[in-house]
């Protein structure tokens, strides 16, 4: 069952499911969003529901419509047709002519470049959105919030003197100060350097756990999505193409884009079904691998959608940590059915492991421990064997 009939993409399936949420009784505290909109080249058509204290990561290529979704939720953009309901309150319902202005929707919006007000000090930025707080208590409250993010000492600093990490924390404190009913975070870590990212990411995690409101987080980074979100929705060209936990997406990507986003290796080839129920793929440029997966089925082990096999153009995906590297000429007595003779192209340490770039001749990446890389004496130019199991080999229709 490789060939899905045209028009029946996994995205549509997810979307219909999402839309039904809106018909049903509203989950208390949840944020639901439905939007149909054409904006220049982008045709936005999607439904999302984020649970009461859930964080949904929104991933997708540039121009997929991620930011537009956040802007629609916040009321900064209005779709031609759509609905936004947050904690039972209707923020937008184009059919009933309801559109609440952004200042009346209680959102905590974190802008990509933080958008701190340069004419106000750090604490006044935080206090800006406080309503129902007596003037005399604002400073105290703002400083307390800044202290929670570890920058109480910078309360009187002017925005231009704040570092990138400090700005992010002020922006987080400012977004929280309003006691939002939903958090909308537009690539909250992208403006930071790698050194600041780790701590900023920790702080963001704390915020998301403590806020106990639905949150949508736009990210380009799978690890970030896995770390901070409960669920990931991948959107492409204005449509949701897959939703699931980060682990589900990693294990069963339904498209090459999702596989790529999760950091998987992607190899192009031609699939043929075999007599034993497996699929054999002749890789472009040479080499053959076998897979238990069925393209488009998304289940790596073949369970549920097994039988059949597949034929036609496919992308083979496998995670770098599932690929083992063996010396050339090794017997290969293990269970790994897929064995490709490859050339080492690069060896680069990443944290406590080593990423090895391989040419098969299509590019592959394997992740090994430092010790293993040294034992194998891996260096650019060395010829080795890359091996992985057919059960770790997923297929996606091209």
């Amino acid at each position: 069952m490789l060939a899905l009939e045209p028009g029946h993409t996994p995205g549509k399936r997810v979307q219909r499911r999402g839309c039904r949420w809106l018909q049903r009784e509203h989950t208390p505290g949840a944020l639901t969003l439905e939007a149909h909109h054409t904006l220049e080249a982008l045709e936005l058509d999607l439904c999302l529901e984020v649970g009461a204290s859930e964080c949904l990561a929104l991933a997708g290529p540039s121009g997929a419509g991620k930011s537009t979704v956040l802007r629609i939720a916040a009321g900064l953009a209005e779709p031609k047709r759509g609905r936004v309901i947050c904690a039972g309150e209707v923020w937008l319902d184009s059919e009933r002519g309801i559109s609440m202005p952004p200042d009346r929707r209680r959102v905590g919006f974190l802008f990509q470049d933080y958008a701190l007000f340069p004419n106000l000090s750090a604490w006044r930025n935080v206090a800006y959105g406080m309503d129902g707080v007596a003037r005399a208590q604002r400073r105290e409250r703002a400083v307390a919030l800044l202290e929670r993010f570890g920058i109480g000492a910078r309360a009187d600093a002017r925005v231009p003197t704040l570092s990138g990490g400090e700005r992010q924390r002020v922006a987080l404190a400012r977004a929280l100060a309003r006691r939002p009913r939903a958090l909308l975070l537009d690539e909250p870590l992208s403006a930071l350097d790698t050194r600041t990212r780790a701590s900023a990411s920790r702080e963001l995690g704390i915020l998301l756990r403590e806020a106990r409101v639905p949150a949508i987080l736009i990210t380009h980074d799978f690890e970030e999505a896995a770390l901070l979100s409960d669920r990931v929705a991948v959107i492409d060209a204005g449509k949701v193409v897959q939703t699931g936990t980060a682990a589900e997406l990693g294990a069963a990507p339904e498209s090459a884009f999702v596989a790529d986003f999760t950091g998987a290796v992607i190899l192009a080839g031609e699939a043929h079904s075999c007599a034993d129920g497996l699929t054999e793929i002749a890789l472009d440029g040479g080499g053959t691998v076998r897979s238990t997966g069925v393209a488009g089925g998304g289940v790596a082990s073949g369970g549920g959608t097994s039988g059949g096999g597949a034929s036609g153009r496919v992308a083979v995906t496998v995670h770098p940590w599932e690929i083992s590297v063996e010396p050339a000429g090794a017997a290969g007595e293990g269970s790994a059915q897929n064995r490709l003779t490859v050339t080492v192209a690069s060896v680069s340490p990443v944290g406590n492991r080593v990423r090895v770039g391989l040419l098969a001749p299509q590019p592959l990446v394997a992740e090994l421990t430092d010790a293993a890389a040294r034992r194998l004496e891996l260096a650019p130019g060395a010829v080795v064997v890359a091996a992985w199991k057919a059960t770790a080999t997923r297929l996606v229709v091209r």
């Binding site: 916040a74 900064l76 200042d103 802008f111 958008a115 701190l116 004419n119 400012r174």
Partner: protein
């Protein structure tokens, strides 16, 4: 290599010519008269009246321009609507219309026999040959300088600041007052200075629309014109004061906003 040197020399030469050409006439005003004579002729009746009137009328005109021009520029900068380009062109039109034509236009609109002449008369307001008429002429001629600059300053604001303010619960009016205006202030101040400078030097429209009555509608430039054929020293003296006041304002604005205002309002 020598080509590069030649070009550099050319650049410096051009700057030197421009500076000498622009500065020398202003310096000459002070050199020609001599300080004692200049001060003496300022004591002459009418001279101080003209200066006082100029300062009063330009101040009132500037207040009107800023009060109406700021929200108008904000609207033009933040909305796209049918006819926006036409509106901007209309606002800019007085920049290129000759001042005398502006005066005729004002007469044809607000003069006793003008389009709105009856309505103006009904309110009991007198414009022609009255100080109020001077303010009208100055406002007409100078407002495009302010509105253009304000439009540019608002347009250069990071839209995310405005959006952030809205998501933080601020209405558009509060966003305008607390975020847009403070962050566009350098550009607004520059626009105000330009408009004020233009109003201070206004001649043609004032003369045609309000006349040149000493003490009532005779501003400093009109007084200078009246003197220059028979009392050149008196004209020089008034000119010197105008140069000094204008230079002081320009300098003050530059100092107040960190020397970047008139250079780059977007900074």
């Amino acid at each position: 290599m020598s080509g590069g040197r030649l070009f550099r020399a050319l650049l410096w030469g051009a700057l030197a010519v421009a500076l000498v050409f622009l500065a020398l006439p202003l310096v000459a005003i002070f050199v020609e008269g001599g300080p004692g004579e200049l001060l003496a002729s300022l004591g002459e009746p009418g001279a101080l009246d003209a200066l006082r009137l100029s300062l009063q009328a330009t101040t009132v005109a500037l207040v009107v321009i800023v009060a109406v021009g700021t929200p108008a520029a904000w609207l033009l900068a933040t909305r796209s609507f049918r006819g926006r380009a036409i509106a901007i062109t209309l606002v800019e039109l007085p920049l290129v219309v000759p001042p005398a034509v502006a005066g005729i236009g004002l007469l044809a609109t607000l003069g006793p026999a003008g389009l709105l002449g009856g309505a103006i008369a009904a309110t009991g307001l007198e414009l022609v040959f009255e100080t109020a008429g001077v303010v009208v002429a100055l406002t007409f001629v100078a407002s495009p300088f302010y509105i253009r600059q304000a439009l540019a300053a608002f347009g250069a604001l990071d839209p995310a600041l405005i959006e952030a303010s809205r998501t933080l619960g601020a209405s558009e009016a509060r966003t305008f007052a607390r975020i847009a205006v403070p962050n566009a202030l350098p550009g607004l101040v520059a626009g105000g200075a330009l408009a004020w400078g233009r109003a201070l030097g206004e001649f043609g429209a004032t003369l045609v629309f309000a006349g040149s009555l000493s003490g009532v509608t005779q501003t400093a430039p009109l007084a200078i014109y009246e003197r220059f054929s028979d009392d050149f020293t008196g004209a020089l003296a008034l000119s010197a004061v105008l140069v000094a006041v204008s230079a002081a304002i320009l300098l003050g604005v530059k100092l107040a906003s960190g020397a970047r205002v008139l250079g780059d309002a977007r900074a």
